[in-house]
């Protein structure tokens, strides 16, 4: 048990503790107790910084299911360390913020439980080397995000937003899983590091490009890239700390992480370059363009997050060119795009986290986030105003804030890429800087909107629910820590560059000999160059556009409502719902006889079909044991009982006759010396009979079903076919040799499992995984029965939906 496993498990452990013990903890303590976990993890992780900066990586393997080649391998390198610091660092601040943000009356234990669940899952994603383990954690982040978005589940919009984000991210996740399986088929390993090491072996294979697209689909849905970004604005129904944490700082960056992690594998492909860069740029543009027309502060931030994620994504795409070109003195320059991506990722987490917390404060203190109702708050909320100003100007790319540095590097990267003459960059490459520049202007405009419409202008007291006043200190501390980072990073960018970003660059370009070369020194001032002119142009045009906003806002009306992505998503969902309802109603008609017909026809088709198709039916009466007299008597009893069931007039007769059949089978097990089976059969038969007897009072009297002759005949044929199939398969199985025999268990049971009862050694040891899952399934089924019966809605119950 080492530190790195503990880092992943600690949040889960704490989540379990909160879930179990929350009644014993004072309500206002829950948050403070939870706060310990991310702080301790953050401090632990910081101790790794010097070692990782020196090029060390930490890897540990815990055997999980070695027979299926699934191991729990943790891997801590520069990239994972950077993300882990982000997750735990922002996590600490967000939990501190939530302590003051959430009212004591909320279901706090749920909130913190989900939040910890998310934190653990996210740490699992960035610290796993095994693709399957990574996938499991990946989906777990989607699930915890779903739970957190629907935290206020009495609101319809919350549930809708949660469902939308779940649908989109999980479908992306599933396609990513298929991509992972393709990678496994090609390389024979699930380990990301081993795949990178064998990249030359797999890059030419026919599955390579499909795998590339499927993995990207997972990354794009998670990181809200165009056209999958539509879930992120709806996810803003979550409490604001959740939006700050999951939907701006960490979870949506999982896609970025995946793209960065897979750059050494896929980065050499032209299609990767164009897809990642292109989708990133479109997202950048579309997000910033749409942010301007929003009237809800949180919606502005949501679209701005979409846009900024697009920016980072496109930078990673630009940086992948260096993988394609291979290592040389000249190509090292192109890695700067990836460096800018990582740098901007860190910067974005600081300023966007602060901005979300700022919006949370405004919402919390004034009861609204609608910019049409806000204005003139500067004198009432000076601290909140400071946060908004610094955060927005950093996002707009103005000095002296960290966003300026990464924005300049972004401009430098898009200008640099046009000099290349591969991937037909000479002809269409010129679009890249133009799109980047236009999107930056829009970014500048919505940053002005956030600050200007909220804090300047006239106060509208009649539109506010509460008297404006400053937030409590506890809610101001976390955003102030973030904005001081915004300023500090501007003045000391190279510390971050050397200790955090440089080792992370080593993970993106593992084949490049020296990471030092990959780390450019960051300067705030580098003379009058095109980048600076671009920034100046952004400011000038941005200010003009902001002042003329009422005049050109009408262009948003040009997009017809019917063709928006949201409308298309909604119609797809409602179409598939209606279609599947139609199909399901056709065969799920509530008639038990029909259901049995489906089951039996399917059974006969598959089993009999298989045996006929593989010619597995052979009889060899010579090796069968001799039939004894009492066996014949038992068979006779069973035949009589079975036929009598058909003519039984009451349910109790049916049950007893059925019991006769069951107990006779148990007798057969005794005769054939299978005491385990006999015991089980006897007990199961008794319990089932008891169950039947209990259920009687709910059942109507047995009465013959009116049915036509044709139906009766077809039912009879099906019954006879089922019986014949079972009998023939039972007889033929003696001569069937296509499966492995189980006789090895006879030899191994005592040597390997230390037991003489092979049935139990198989159940408890050789196949213990099956047994364990069966136990869980049994339990879930029991809970299902219990909840269906006990918790069903009362007839006079009120409709709690759609409040």
């Amino acid at each position: 048990m080492t530190i790195d496993l503990a880092i992943i498990l600690a949040p889960f452990f704490m989540a379990a503790c909160i879930a179990i013990f929350y009644r014993k903890i004072k309500r206002n303590w829950v948050g403070w107790i939870v706060l310990f976990i991310p702080i301790i993890l953050f401090l632990t992780l910081t101790t790794y910084i010097p070692r990782v900066a020196n090029g060390h990586t930490f890897s540990n393997t815990y055997e999980w299911i070695p027979s299926l080649n699934i191991n729990f391998t943790t891997y801590l390198d520069g990239l994972s360390l950077m993300f882990s610091l982000l997750i735990t660092g922002v996590g600490s601040l967000v939990i501190l913020y939530s302590i003051f943000y959430l009212s004591q009356k909320e279901a706090l234990h749920h909130f913190y439980c989900y939040l910890l669940l998310f934190m653990g899952a996210m740490l699992g994603v960035v610290l796993s080397d095994h693709l399957m383990v990574l996938y499991v954690f990946w989906e777990l982040t989607s699930v915890s995000s779903f739970l957190l978005i629907a935290f206020w589940h009495h609101r319809k919009a919350s549930r809708a937003g949660a469902r939308k984000s779940m649908t989109i991210t999980v479908s992306g996740g599933v396609s990513m899983l298929v991509g992972f399986l393709m990678l496994y088929v090609m390389s024979g390993t699930f380990s990301i590091r081993e795949i990178i090491a064998n990249i030359s072996m797999i890059s030419g294979q026919s599955l390579f490009i499909p795998a590339l697209f499927l993995v990207l689909l997972g990354a794009f849905t998670k990181s809200a890239q165009f056209p999958f970004h539509i879930w992120l604005p709806d996810a803003m129904e979550a409490p604001t700390p959740v939006s700050a944490y999951l939907h701006s700082a960490t979870m949506v960056k999982a896609g970025i992480y995946l793209v960065a992690r897979f750059t050494p594998i896929f980065g050499g492909e032209m299609i990767w370059f164009w897809t990642v860069t292109g989708v990133g740029l479109i997202t950048l543009f579309w997000g910033s363009f749409n942010a301007i027309r929003q009237v809800d502060l949180k919606a502005i931030l949501a679209f701005s997050t979409v846009s900024q994620l697009g920016l980072i994504m496109s930078l990673l795409g630009l940086g992948s060119v260096a993988v394609h070109l291979g290592y040389s003195d000249k190509t090292v320059l192109y890695t700067q795009a990836s460096f800018a991506a990582l740098f901007h990722l860190m910067n974005h987490s600081t300023f966007k986290g602060a901005l979300f917390m700022m919006v949370g404060i405004v919402d919390h203190e004034l009861g609204t986030r609608d910019i049409r109702r806000l204005g003139g708050l500067m004198s009432f909320m000076p601290f909140t105003f400071t946060i908004a100003l610094i955060g927005s100007f950093s996002m707009a790319g103005l000095p002296p804030f960290n966003g300026f540095l990464s924005k300049e590097m972004f401009f430098a990267a898009v200008l640099k890429i046009t000099e290349l003459d591969i991937f037909s960059l000479q002809s269409v490459g010129v679009i890249i800087p133009i799109v980047a520049w236009v999107a930056s202007i829009f970014t500048f405009v919505y940053c002005l909107i956030i600050v200007g419409k909220t804090f300047f202008g006239k106060l509208k007291p009649d539109l506010l629910e509460k008297q404006p006043h400053e937030a409590p200190v506890g809610m101001l501390i976390p955003p102030f820590i973030l904005i001081s980072l915004v300023v500090l990073i501007f003045f000391f960018p190279n510390i971050l560059g050397k200790y955090i970003l440089q080792p992370a660059m080593g993970s993106i370009y593992p084949t490049f000999p020296s990471v030092k070369e990959l780390t450019p020194s960051i300067y705030a001032w580098h003379g009058f160059n095109p980048e600076l002119y671009m920034t100046m142009g952004v400011v000038v045009v941005g200010v003009i556009l902001y002042h003329l906003l009422p005049r050109w806002k009408r262009i948003y009306l040009l997009i017809p409502q019917r063709f928006t992505l949201n409308a298309m998503y909604e119609s797809t969902i409602s179409f598939s719902e209606n279609f599947s309802r139609l199909v399901t109603r056709r065969y799920m008609n509530g008639d038990l006889t029909h259901y049995f017909i489906y089951i039996y026809v399917f059974f006969v088709a598959v089993v009999a079909g298989y045996f006929l198709f593989t010619e597995g039916i052979t009889f060899n009466p010579a090796i069968d044991a001799k039939i004894e007299g009492f066996e014949l008597i038992l068979v006779f009893i069973m035949v009589v009982a079975a036929i009598s069931i058909l003519f039984a007039k009451s349910r109790i007769t049916t049950v007893i006759l059925n019991g006769v059949l069951g107990y006779s089978v148990a007798f057969f097990f005794v005769i054939f010396r299978a005491p385990d089976l006999a015991l089980t059969q006897l007990v199961v038969e008794s319990v089932t009979t008891a169950l039947f007897l209990i259920c009687f009072k709910f059942l109507p009297d047995l009465k013959p079903e009116p049915s036509t002759r044709g139906v009766k005949i077809s039912n009879g044929v099906i019954s006879i076919l089922v019986g014949a199939t079972v009998t023939i398969v039972g007889l033929a199985v003696m001569n069937y040799e296509k499966f492995d025999t189980i006789s090895s268990y006879f030899e191994d049971s005592y040597n390997l499992a230390g037991g003489k009862n092979i049935v139990n050694t198989i159940l408890g040891d050789f196949r213990a995984f099956d047994t364990m899952l069966e136990v869980v399934v049994l339990f879930i089924a029991g809970l299902g029965v219990y909840t269906l019966i006990k918790l069903k809605a009362k007839k006079e119950g009120t409709d709690i939906e759609n409040k």
Binding site: M1, Y62, E63, W64, I65, P66, P675, D676, L679, T680, V683, V684, S686, V687, A690, L691, I694, C695, F698, A753, G754, G755, K756, N757, V759, N760, T761, L763, G764, D765, A768, F769, T771, M772, V775, V776, L778, F779, A781, G782, L783, V785, Y786, I789, K790
Partner: protein, 140 residues
């Protein structure tokens, strides 16, 4: 008309002990002879169900104040817990081990971690079985 069930009640008082003893016996003998967690759990569960059938639910609840949902949950926790527990001994998930130990009074005995796993199975079976039967029979 109230059914006279004096005979049933008297017989059940004795029989239940035999059934429960059989269940415990089957559970422990499972490693080397017929039996095991599943059958043991089923026998124990059916013994308890027999009690509920003979007497009424309230009487048994007073004498045996278990929440059988929790019994089942504890069983699942035991089964999955032993599975995860092996990770702490640097062994793969679900590794079981056994050994011979000399205990005071009992003498040399064969002990195995599989027993804990099987106990989890047995408790889950008992808990689920009783939960299902009770909830169906209590339904109005």
């Amino acid at each position: 008309m109230k059914i006279n069930d004096v005979i049933l009640k008297t017989v059940v008082k004795g029989v239940v002990f035999i059934i429960l003893t059989l269940g415990v016996y089957l559970f422990f003998s499972g490693h080397n002879a017929p039996g095991g967690g599943f059958i043991g759990g089923l026998v124990l569960g059916s013994g308890i169900v027999l009690l509920y059938l003979t007497y009424d639910i309230e009487t048994i609840h007073r004498k045996m104040p278990f929440d059988f949902k929790k019994v089942a949950a504890f069983g699942v926790l035991l089964a999955t817990g032993t599975a995860i527990g092996s990770l702490y001994f640097e062994a793969p998930f679900l590794t079981q081990t056994d050994g011979y130990f000399t205990l005071p009074i009992l003498g040399e005995k064969h002990l195995s971690t599989v027993t804990i796993f099987e106990a989890g199975v047995a408790l889950t079976v008992v808990g689920t079985l009783v939960t299902i039967i009770l909830s169906i029979s209590e339904d109005e």
